[in-house]
């Protein structure tokens, strides 16, 4: 069976504030695959997730990225999201004054509009989001609060996971690069991610620790150091790393 590539990164170079962070990265992720990118602190793992989502301030100095066959670098952050890219953020930002429900309704309807689906009115939306929220242990009260304001680490992850569930992206990036997240919060997001796995949906897990990969088992593991992938393998590579550490890969440069 031939596999359909979803994301193709080709010889990518990117910089932030005049500093070259990604140097010659190659990575192809096919439909239905789960890839893990592991690396030491400061290797540029989070930069990779922001570059993929189009965060302003990240300058691409070379290479190509194709997403569903399209030139990703020509798409705005919102276009990427509407096409099915979703970043589960390590530290989602607080937005005072914007209730969760208001934010989610704008988001869901922007995506639905792009997919030529009718927009949901307020009543339909509230019913829909309450039902989805319930599955993740998100109360009606939490939906009324301003986005992430005063949320615990676990609540923030629940909200990220709820967005994943209602936006139904085909490509999710889980950025847990250096996070010291507690185990419960980690499980919330892992369960949410696993529930969305499917033959057409792909996942990129960016992590420092092997721990997360006990909950989200990857098909491929890549070791990322000094701005590019230095070694690729199956899930056993993560185990190996746990024992030997990153030192041998960092030395290579």
């Amino acid at each position: 069976m031939t596999k359909t590539p979803l994301l193709e990164i080709e010889d990518l170079y990117a910089r932030v504030a005049e500093r070259e962070i990604i140097k010659g990265l190659n990575l192809t992720i096919n439909e239905g695959e789960v890839h893990a990118v592991m690396g030491p602190n400061g290797a540029g793992k989070s930069t990779l997730s922001y570059v993929l989502c189009g965060k302003p301030g990240y300058e691409i100095t070379g290479g190509k990225i194709r997403f569903k066959g399209m030139d990703l670098l020509k798409m705005s952050p919102e276009e990427r999201a509407r096409e099915g890219m979703f970043l589960i953020m390590q530290y989602p930002v607080e937005i005072p004054g914007v209730p969760v429900t208001t934010f989610l309704k704008h988001s869901v309807n922007a995506v639905r509009k792009h997919r030529n689906l009718p927009e949901l009115d307020t009543m339909e939306f509230i019913k829909f989001v309450r039902e989805e929220g319930k599955k993740l242990g998100i109360s009606a009260d939490m939906l009324k609060r301003p986005v992430n304001v005063g949320f615990s680490g676990g609540e923030k992850k629940r909200l990220e996971t709820l967005q994943l569930a209602i936006l139904k992206p085909c490509f999710a990036i889980l950025d847990e690069a250096d996070s010291g997240l507690d185990i419960d919060a980690l499980k919330v997001v892992a369960d949410g991610v696993n529930a969305e796995r499917g033959e057409h949906n792909s996942l990129l897990v960016i992590t420092h620790y092997q721990r997360l990969l006990n909950y989200i088992v990857p098909d491929f593991v890549h070791i990322f150091a000094d701005g590019h992938i230095v070694k690729s393998g199956g899930k056993e590579l993560a185990q190996e790393l746990e024992e030997t550490g990153y030192a041998q890969f960092v030395k290579e440069k």
């Binding site: 705005s76 999201a81 970043l87 930002v93 937005i95 922007a110």
Partner: protein
């Protein structure tokens, strides 16, 4: 004497005490003159656009010209603009009171100021008694032209069942109109009321006029007034307003002012908390664009122990506009166990937008809690990216964040229907 101090034929010229009061106003204005860039209280809000010689004073004469004998404006009006909820509505067209038939509850008096002056000695206890015209040039001018406005009194322990709305509309038929209104608002002990003031225009948005408003508000023991104002004057207009408020023991004054119009606007609130447990909340929001200057000035004087004040002001400034906030809290030596807080925050949407903020605390008492905070900045890039990374378009995301910026100040409006109305006018 040119400029804004002109010869005008005013009603009630045969009432000696009224004429004496007007004369005091004329002298006080002549002594101070127009504020300039050197006038401390006006240095951020230079009244540069007040090249005033061409303003025409509203008098009884042009009352007739504009409003006809029947008292109704003859110029073309847009459809009746009413508030989207039940209230007692009183309209001024070009500063001229329209004779609505209000069925007011017992204990509630609303009458034209001139009627109160000619028929009711009670007004003497209030008119001009709270405003320091020696230090407020526009209040002096307002005193010189005393005639238009309302006398509102809520009798002791009377609770007004619906808001009282005073709607001021200016029509383009009367270019360069200079209109002075004085409202006397008295809440006797235990009275409660909601008052809405709105300033809007009909017709050409380029029409130039000047509204100069003074409210003298007296809040009795354990009385409570919620005062909401919407200012959306035409974009070449000038709007200057002073609300002078006296709050007695256990009394409560809560105000909210949304300003988004005029070329030059100043909304000034001066509150005296004269007795124990008196309380004031002064909140404001301003949204501006173009070349406008909108000024919010407050001065809260804590004169007795255990008095309380809280101010929250939010602004959104785009284009080449300029927002000004001057907030003063004064705590007198005897005002122990007092609390005064103030916070101002403004969002700048363009590089050419400007905000000047001058907080001032004068604390002469021990054992008080007093704080102020001020900040201005641009939209948060992280928040903007978060929304866009969820599929929300950039313009929509910006609008969500702009609306959110005002959310906490709108949340201060206790009445849901008034809040919904003002939120709908802020978009």
């Amino acid at each position: 004497m040119g400029g804004l101090l002109q010869q005008a034929e005013l009603p009630g010229a045969n009432i000696p005490w009224l004429e004496a009061l007007r004369e005091k106003g004329r002298r006080a204005f002549a002594a101070q003159g127009m504020p300039t860039a050197k006038t401390e209280a006006w240095k951020y809000t230079r009244p540069r656009d007040l090249q005033t010689d061409d303003f025409v004073i509203r008098t009884t004469d042009n009352d007739k010209k504009c409003c006809g004998e029947a008292g109704h404006c003859s110029c073309e009006k847009q459809e009746e603009q009413s508030l989207p909820f039940e209230c007692y509505e009183i309209c001024f067209e070009n500063g001229c009171l329209q004779h609505n038939h209000l069925h007011l509850p017992r204990g509630v008096t609303v009458m034209p100021l001139m009627e109160a002056i000619t028929e009711n000695d009670e007004i003497k206890a209030y008119l001009g008694k709270s405003v320091d015209i020696e230090h407020y040039p526009f209040a002096a001018l307002n005193t010189a032209y005393l005639a238009g406005g309302l006398f509102i009194r809520i009798a002791g322990n009377t609770k007004l069942d619906k808001p009282l709305a005073v709607l001021n509309r200016t029509h383009s038929c009367h270019e360069n109109l200079f209109c002075n209104l004085r409202n006397i608002i008295v809440l006797e002990s235990g009275a409660e009321a909601e008052l809405i003031e709105s300033f809007t225009y009909d017709g050409a948005e380029k029409s130039r006029y000047f509204n100069n408003i003074v409210n003298e508000i007296y809040i009795g023991r354990k009385a409570s007034l919620r005062h909401c104002k919407f200012q959306n004057e035409a974009f070449k207009a000038v709007h200057v307003s002073l609300s002078q408020v006296k709050v007695r023991e256990g009394g409560n004054y809560e105000s909210f002012c949304l300003q988004r119009g005029a070329n030059l606007a100043r909304n000034e609130t001066k509150v005296l908390l004269t007795e124990e447990q008196a309380r004031a909340e002064v909140n404001a929001a301003y949204i501006m664009n173009g070349w406008a200057t909108i000024d919010t000035t407050t001065d809260i004087e804590h004169l007795s122990p255990q008095t309380y004040s809280d101010q929250l002001v939010r602004g959104i400034v785009g284009g080449n506009a300029k927002g000004v906030f001057q907030g003063k809290i004064h705590i007198a030596p005897e005002a122990v166990k007092t609390e005064g807080t103030q916070q101002h925050k403004a969002l700048l949407l363009t590089d050419t937008a400007e905000v000047d903020c001058k907080p001032e605390l004068e604390i002469f008492a021990d054992d008080v809690k007093c704080s102020h905070g001020a900040a201005s900045g641009e939209l948060d890039e992280e928040q903007l990216f978060y929304l866009r990374s969820r599929g929300i378009g950039e313009d929509e995301a910006r609008q969500i964040l702009i609306d959110a910026y005002l959310e906490d100040v709108f949340a201060r409006i206790r009445s849901e229907k008034i809040k919904d109305w003002l939120v709908s006018l802020s978009g």
